[in-house]
């Protein structure tokens, strides 16, 4: 059952990645050329999913949209992991009051959900894919700090770390050689789940017009456009939503499956 979860997740993620990769070399129609086809076509041939209000093939836009989703996910999770993991290890190392202060700061950061931070940054620096990625990335840092610290604490208490310390191994070397490999699976799980959240956040921001710019196809913005034409052309609102849900479900399932696969002890916990 749990193994099935992982496989379904991997299949969905592979499908989304494949869509993004394929879109670099081939799309049925031009995904950005306004007026290249008849407007607001229903699904059929040659436009399998129909066309939008600008006469652009929806299937082509869905394919290219996968790129935007993955792009934001990779950068946002990358920022969060690059900052959060070292801080998490540091927090495990600090004396009690230092760790306490750091984790309290992490708690405060939790009060800024990704979307709110992104809206705030968009208001100041202007809405763009970069603003959205950075905001989502920063807002995800606390999750990585917590997960890494929790893992690092148990590693630091282990005998082999004690032995390494006794042998005079410097702290940075212990962090890289012993702590990092032993918390890698936790970070992997967190990355997968955070990736799913990043895709959801990007979609919401683009829907609000605060993420990916109009010229670049993105699933969230497609839904925003589709809502305008909901009365006459409801199917338009179906495809981008399905794409988002599939991608998010995929990464969530991979995260869950990975957690159980790598660490059976964690089974049944959240």
């Amino acid at each position: 059952m749990k193994r099935a979860e992982l496989w379904v997740g991997l299949a969905l993620v592979t499908a989304v990645v494949a869509m993004a990769l394929v879109s670099f070399v081939w799309t049925p129609f031009d995904a950005t050329a306004v007026g290249s086809g008849p407007r607001l076509q229903s699904p059929g041939l040659p436009h399998v999913l129909g066309t939008d209000h600008m006469g652009i093939d929806i299937f082509s836009r869905i394919l290219v949209g996968a790129r935007s989703a993955l792009y934001v996910g990779i950068i946002a999770v990358g920022i969060a992991a690059l900052v959060g993991v070292p801080l998490g290890i540091l927090a495990a190392w600090l004396p009690r009051w230092g760790a306490e202060a750091m984790m309290r700061a992490t708690d405060v950061a939790y009060a800024f959900p990704a979307l709110l931070l992104a809206i705030l940054l968009a208001a100041v620096f202007g809405a763009s894919t970069e603003t959205a990625m950075v905001a989502i990335g920063i807002a995800t840092i606390p999750a990585f700090i917590r997960v890494t610290r929790a893992g690092a604490l148990s590693v630091l208490a282990s005998d082999y770390v004690l032995a390494a310390r006794a042998a005079g191994t410097p702290a940075p070397a212990i962090a890289v050689r012993h702590v990092l490999p032993n918390v890698a699976h936790l970070i992997g799980v967190q990355a997968s789940v955070s990736f799913a959240m990043a895709i959801l956040a990007e979609a919401a921001l683009s829907y609000l017009g605060l993420g990916t710019p109009p010229t670049v196809p993105s699933w969230g913005r497609m839904l925003g456009d589709a809502q305008t034409y909901l009365f006459g052309h409801p199917t338009q609102a179906l495809w981008p939503g399905l794409a988002i849900a599939a991608a998010v479900l995929g990464f969530n399932l991979v995260g869950d499956g990975l957690r159980d696969f790598l660490d059976p002890k964690l089974r049944e916990v959240a």
Partner: protein, 317 residues
Amino acid sequence: MFRQLLGRLGIFLLSLVAASFAIFVITQALPGDVAAVILGHGATPEQLAAKRAELGTDRPFLVQYLEWVTAMLGGDFGRSWFSHLPVTTLMAPRLGVTGSLVSGGLLLAVLIALPLGAVAALRRRQWPGLLTSATAQVGMAIPAFWAGIILVFVFGVLLRWLPPNGYVPLGRDPGRWASHLVLPVVTLGVIQAAVLVRYVRSAFLEVLAEDYYRTARSIGWTKWRALSRHGIRNASLSLVTVLGLQLASVIVGAIVIERVFVLPGLGSLLLDAVATNDLVVVRGITMVLVFAVLLINAAVDISYVLIDPRLRAREAS
């Protein structure tokens, strides 16, 4: 216990200072001169200087921050750069909209997630549990605004049972107020419930592994009896925490949902202010939202101490 409560209160105040400072730093980081942004390209140096003095941007950073905080403590959130109305005047009529949406959504989410989470935990190896977990997993993946759009189409456009968007104040017409809120609340509540079900499930699973649960079962109590007698009360501790954490995402979710259903709440005001670069309004609303989140978190922390006798005992010993 008193000392503990005082400690939590201190943490709350510190968090508030940290959060407000962060918001101030970000909104003050605007590249370039705010006065120039407001007045546009044709402004003379005298006009710019006057505007800077009016906005207070010609003074040191910390002084500006302290002035901002002191003013807020007195209920003054500043004036919109564009409409020149006080931010509080702009926010006041919208608090009720967002408040109804958030509280309705959270309540619905709990009402859905509690029984489903219990089923998912108790029947975790049978089809009702598996089905519930799978549904929750799928629900978590659905963007709330997409669910909202679909609901608008089905109930607002196709069936015409409910208004697809808009808002009527409670005072004007309670019936129409409720009918306009049904779809937004359902959207927010159902999607949030999907996230919550997982936490409820694991909270109940923890209880199932406890000795007192095993004892209750071994003296012949049914699963449901053991769980309703012991489970809910014990699980409620972790649930309260989760609810507090979830509140942040409910509030943020409400911003998007307000846009989907064209509700005149704080979220729409925030997005409008972002569109016009009205940073005073953006800053004010963000502060209110973050304040609400931190306040609830503090309340959760404090209620935790009050509910759990073990936490109190630790202090006494």
